[in-house]
Symmetry: C2
Subunit: 307 residues, 2 copies
Amino acid sequence: MSLTGAASAPGDLLTFADDLRVVAEDVNACLTSLLPLPQGPEQRVVEAMRYSALDGGKRLRPFLAVASADLFHVPRAHSLRAGAAVEMVHCYSLIHDDLPAMDDDDLRRGRPTCHKAFDEATAILAGDGLLTGAFAVLSDEETHPDGDTRAKLVAALAEAAGAEGMVGGQMLDLLAEDMDMSESEIERLQVLKTGRLLAVSCQVGGILGQADTATLEDLRTYGLCLGAAFQIADDLLDLEATAGDLGKATGKDDAAGKATFVSLHGPERARKRAKTLVDQAVAALSPFGESAELLRAAAAFTVNRQS
Amino acid sequence: MSLTGAASAPGDLLTFADDLRVVAEDVNACLTSLLPLPQGPEQRVVEAMRYSALDGGKRLRPFLAVASADLFHVPRAHSLRAGAAVEMVHCYSLIHDDLPAMDDDDLRRGRPTCHKAFDEATAILAGDGLLTGAFAVLSDEETHPDGDTRAKLVAALAEAAGAEGMVGGQMLDLLAEDMDMSESEIERLQVLKTGRLLAVSCQVGGILGQADTATLEDLRTYGLCLGAAFQIADDLLDLEATAGDLGKATGKDDAAGKATFVSLHGPERARKRAKTLVDQAVAALSPFGESAELLRAAAAFTVNRQS
């Protein structure tokens, strides 16, 4: 793995894929223990929560939380829980985004979406349950012994996920179909919809490690740049891949007339822009020196992944 | 106002209505300041959040939070914020419950429901935004200077609202239409769907006041008994009132074949049961002596209200 910049050789990516898989397995175990089935008939909603939360996703957000917390030697038992909480919020947002009233998607990661596998009402409640559960996890003493730290985790996630963050971004995304958005407006949409949750994934690692404000700001910058690169890579994949590759419907943004950096400037300029963003993400890690190699590899992975 | 038991004379109820209105006005001001409109087009989702959160509700839950916190001389600036957070969760649950995929209601408190006034997608997001916002409020230093107390507030609300509380109750309620439920199952449904949020309204007051475990348990018992009485009163109102009185559709439970204590045992036994529950709620307040008169009046109000 390159210690001086973004990993790019195939060998580095392979190593990173291993690292990512190890964290994914640990996070899956953590999520399973955090979502026990209750005894009554209401266990249906927890079955739906588990269906969507334990679906073989890459777990990039928990990885960022764990890798960021590793910078401060935070016990994995803590950082995995914080990462699982962010992932629960990510999964809730996918369930709600897929609903017929929203993006109306039938397929997600190669499987029926939650409202297809269960029903619409159960899917709405499963999303609500995951969102609420994320805050239960962060406020629990098992996530960190210090109450002030737990409250800071909750505040950071609530800010990133709420109306001034992800919820606002999804609102903008729905409105975008009927709007002529400028490039800066598209960028703002994507920061809100995707970037803020990726950024807070890194921030929770720093919060667990009692990092100072400037350090948290570096992690946030890294996460926002990585998020923007991630979004462009997603749009490129959406343009180029088939549904079979991605396990979800493709070409939908184009069909809905939604502008993206790719549709505005073409794939070549988009690829260059993504590379610049990865460089900026990596630059934000310079204060951490060699200890940030996992985060540097994650930035490279973001734009080099195939799904 | 009676200092020895549940208030019941018309004069007492009038006094209580005044107390309730004073807190409601303060909570409305608090909610308004907690839900500022952002600058971009995504302000639509905050407009929907404000539409549903500032709709002239009685604010019983914030009242319980404030009156419980008053027992411990907690500054109103703190208890109003905690009460507003619980109310945000209550309002989110109403928005999602009213959706076409759930109870499919067009009318709420005499006005079009959120998805009718806006649209389904915006209503889903407005609920998500209110739920997330509640945890942002509780984790903010303005709600309490001590981080441990803030984390406890978050944990209590998340537990009451999540899959083991309100979300589980709503799942059960949806399943109830196709189930033959026993009386104890109906009671459990109502504890989860209504009782837990009313109970946590009281608990947050105690948490703000650094109450010990036994005292928090008394407040919880009071809230659960009050919640059960509240539910029976609601079912009686649903049976007897017209839509004009309540500002929402009536007779829906009956039409959907949902069993309630009222449908199982008739209005007379239901009224007696509600009275017994109010007595139990009041009994749980005995350790607080005269200082709990507002909470005693709230218990009486619960079963004597007309809407």
